[in-house]
Amino acid sequence: MEILQIVGIGLIGAILAVFVKERNKEIALLISMATGLLIFLFAVSKVSAVVKVLEELASRANINMFYLTTVLKIIGIAYIAEFGAQVCKDAGEGSIATKIELAAKILVMVLALPIIVAILESVLRLIP
């Protein structure tokens, strides 16, 4: 029952942060960051099973693994960027959070470029 552990860690972190916030805001922020990181690492360790299933499905459908790894990379970038942006927002640094999101969006587009080019190539080949 990992969900109980995760919820327990989350609740303990939240209660600690609320108590500490009134006396020391910085420590409260650090507590919330550590809690978030702990939960994030807990969830990431389980992702490998999902990735394995996806890879098996892709190999069954004869999908080029290059595309699948690109999509998985994009999802990973989105998750990590979201986590970082949320932490920054919690710390009251909304502008840094926006910049993180911007960088993530650019990275996603860069990773998607080969797929876009592949589609363009195929469409251009279909047109005589």
């Binding site: 080029n64 290059f66 595309y67 690109t70 994009i74 990773l111």
Partner: protein, 205 residues
């Protein structure tokens, strides 16, 4: 058709694990492109007669080299997998043949070596090239130790009744027996595995 169903399943699965933030729109666009390219690929293959179009990776030279090395490694892995599979396959056939040959009357110990036709790749496998069956009509050492007292009695009786001519007769009988066993082994193996009996070679020891 089957591939399309799997692609749809795959994308719904990926859709489930997508993050729920402002990034979602971007990820969804890329997902759409991914579905498009995977569905377009077979259609394009129809027009270009099996030619798979290359992914343009002109913007990042380092990523192309890593992709190439990964592809090369995957090819290498597939080759090793296939050769291991073929090895395992021939070993299994050998085991089955061993068990079958042991059923032939007079065979005490048997060793089978199967040689496969074609290359080391799975697609190039053409069947069985040759089968070498090494038959031992006598008990092995550890088995003979338990029935050792029987042997001198048999030899003794032969010497008494037959003598020198008898020895020749026993040789002829032995040859006849070997021929019968060879015939039986060839018949059994060719019937069970549907192979030409000419490729089976039986050796007695």
């Amino acid at each position: 058709m089957r591939n399309v169903v799997i692609i749809v399943l795959l994308t719904t699965f990926i859709d489930l694990i997508m993050p729920s933030s402002s990034m979602q729109r971007f990820v969804k666009v890329v997902m759409g492109l991914f579905i498009l390219v995977t569905l377009l690929n077979p259609i394009l293959n129809l027009f270009t007669k099996g030619q798979d179009f290359e992914v343009m990776t002109w913007q990042l030279k380092t990523s192309t080299s890593t992709a190439n090395t990964v592809l090369a490694q995957s090819d290498k892995l597939t080759a090793t997998n296939q050769s291991l599979f073929l090895e395992n396959y021939s070993r299994r056939i050998e085991g089955q043949m061993k068990a079958l040959v042991k059923l032939v009357k007079g065979v005490k110990e048997v060793e089978v070596q199967v040689e496969l036709k074609g290359g080391k790749q799975l697609g190039t496998l053409e069947g069985i090239a040759s089968i070498l069956v090494m038959v031992d009509t006598q008990e092995t050492e550890d088995k003979s130790s338990s029935i050792k007292p029987v042997e001198p009695v048999r030899i003794h009786s032969k010497e008494r009744t037959a003598g020198n001519e008898g020895a020749k007769d026993t040789q002829a009988v032995l040859d006849e027996e070997h021929k019968r066993m060879e015939r039986e082994i060839k018949n059994t193996l060719s019937n069970y595995f549907g192979i030409n009996p000419k490729i089976i070679k039986v050796v007695f020891s």
